[in-house]
């Protein structure tokens, strides 16, 4: 399915195809690429029923722009009556009795969910190798990782199975897989999209959004997902901008800050070169490049890997074997039920983060770790605020390298954490950012990250769209993908 959402919507309106036909194609394509392991649950019955409803809606105009478009949900969003695992043994048997707001909203827009995408367990990981259901393969090279944690979502879009997929981004989990799979991924401002029904990892960092093949498609989907939600106390109560209307604006006069720290040691030369070439393209489009500095950038990884585990240790305390999910067999006591349920239900990386977070919050260490990390978090947010006094956007490579090989980094947690060097600061500051295809290195896609001030998603999508009108990096597909 190589058409854009806009083109598919047009074809649906002109009766050149139907939601049922598109859905059958997506289901067949998903089965055909079972080797990618990109889906945990394929929901054929639900998808075909939703497609039929969309076809009915499409007969009456005006239907929503997403009506009849097949897509996949990251398996972190609760779906009423459909298993939601978060890629954990802990939730292998969990069938939620309610829908996440994101699920509700896309269903109301008559988009057709074909199933639940694979991911790193509880969204903790940067390679999708931490899934209870096995790793996802990168469609560009199946010996390589698709990135994580929204690796299944990214692989499904890159392989042309669906035109978009939902994802979540706590430290880079939308942008990094988008970069590794050669697609466009938007992380919205914290609070722009409801977190209700999205399984919590780190509540002050978690955001939900979309991975698609272009900024225009991201704009279509974000428009349907964003907005205030009374069921999420941290949801922003402010109007949603018209993302589609903003796309056409010329970039004349746009000031792009080139953050020198984002091109530091550890950034692969090929990645840096592709990103620099993309920035040259922005100059041709009328933008001005400005050298900026984010002096505390090097502290983002240590701050993140204290704050995120601390919040995770608290959020994941709910998995106790009593109310839902996995429960250890024949517990000898309540304590035994808790401790064995958690030891048997969680994977290695999740346990590691729970232990780190518990330590950082424990008596005697709270000030030295958690509180200190929160103070550094303010320094990092202040760096962005200072830079945005002189520029409209900040640019750099999304990731230090292109997609790495399966097994290359998963035995070393610190090597894996280092993958997030250019993405986590954005979450600490709660800002929106986008990763868009900017070229290739070693025949693998490179992502350009653009960061904007809070609630300036329209500016990001505009800048990405104008680049995509003037380049075709986003149109490249892995070999064999139609």
């Amino acid at each position: 399915m190589s058409l854009s959402i806009t083109q598919l919507a047009q074809a649906l309106r002109e009766r050149k195809t139907s939601a049922t036909e598109l859905t059958r194609q997506a289901l067949a394509a998903a089965k055909n690429r079972a080797d990618l392991n990109a889906l945990i649950t394929l929901d054929e019955t639900g998808a075909l029923a939703a497609a039929e409803r969309a076809d009915t809606a499409l007969k009456k105009s005006p239907a929503s722009a997403l009506a009849g478009i097949p897509f996949a949900h990251k398996d972190i969003f609760c779906t009423n009556g459909l298993r939601t695992t978060c890629a954990s043994r802990m939730l292998d048997n969990f069938v939620p009795p309610y829908d996440a707001t994101v699920v509700d909203k896309l269903a109301a827009a008559q988009a057709v969910a074909i199933g639940k995408a694979n991911m790193d367990e509880f969204a903790m990981g940067s390679s999708n190798e931490n899934s209870f259901y096995g790793p996802v393969k990168n469609p560009w090279d199946t010996a390589r990782v698709p990135g994580g944690s929204s690796g299944g979502s990214a692989a499904l879009v890159a392989a042309g199975i669906v035109p978009f997929a939902t994802g979540t981004d706590t430290g880079g989990s939308i942008r990094q897989p988008a970069a590794f799979c050669g697609i466009t991924g938007l992380k919205p401002t914290y609070g722009r999209v409801s977190r209700f029904g999205m399984i919590a990892f780190a509540s002050s960092l978690d955001t939900a959004s979309v991975l698609a093949r272009s900024a225009e498609d991201c704009a279509q989907v974000l428009a349907a997902m964003a907005g205030h939600d009374g069921r999420d106390a941290t949801s922003a109560d402010r109007a949603v901008d018209d993302y589609l209307a903003a796309l056409a604006k010329p970039l004349q006069g746009l000031r792009i800050g080139v953050a020198r720290e984002y091109f530091g040691a550890g950034i692969d030369a090929g990645v840096g070169a592709a990103v620099q070439a993309a920035l040259k393209q922005y100059e041709k489009l009328g933008a001005t490049l400005v050298d900026v500095s984010l002096p505390n950038a090097a502290l983002a990884i240590p701050a993140y890997y204290v704050i995120a585990p601390a919040e995770a240790s608290s959020n994941l305390a709910r998995y106790d074997g009593v109310r839902y999910g996995y429960a250890a067999k024949e517990p000898k006591s309540l304590e035994d039920l808790y401790t064995r349920t958690r030891a048997e239900g969680f994977g290695a990386e999740v346990k590691r983060r729970i232990l780190v977070g518990t330590y950082a919050l424990s008596a005697g260490y709270y000030d030295a770790y958690y509180l200190r990390a929160q103070r550094v978090r303010r320094l990092i947010a202040n760096d962005f605020a200072e830079a945005f006094k002189t520029v409209d956007l900040i640019a750099g490579p999304t990731t230090p390298t292109v997609a790495f090989k399966l097994g290359e980094k998963n035995s070393d947690p610190l090597a894996m954490y280092a993958e997030d060097v250019n993405t986590v600061a954005v979450n600490l500051a709660g800002l929106p950012a986008i990763s868009l295809p900017a070229g290739f290195s070693e025949k693998l896609p490179v992502g350009l990250q653009l960061i904007a001030p809070a609630f300036e998603e329209a500016r990001l999508l505009n800048a990405a769209h104008q680049f995509q009108l003037a380049s075709d990096w986003h149109a490249h597909k892995p070999e064999g993908v139609a």
Partner: protein
Amino acid sequence: MSIDAATVRHIARLARLAVGENELAPIAGELSRVLDLADQLGAAQIDGVAPLAHPHEQTLAWRPDAVTEPDLADAFLALAPDARGGLYLVPKVLE
């Protein structure tokens, strides 16, 4: 920060995670490396900097004290390994 097996046992107890005796040393080694990373925060100039707990420093919104959610109690109880008479059942705590 280097931590030992006894510390791992203590944290695991706080986190309600069963950890076997033979796992303590390798976990201590891994956690020590992660804490070494966290110790880089020591280099930050944070005097007089207030902690930032939440990106937009939101204050919680008020809403009317009214029931807005449907009653899904039975649906939630049905997910439990053991529930009877509207209650979650757990192993006996008092003898």
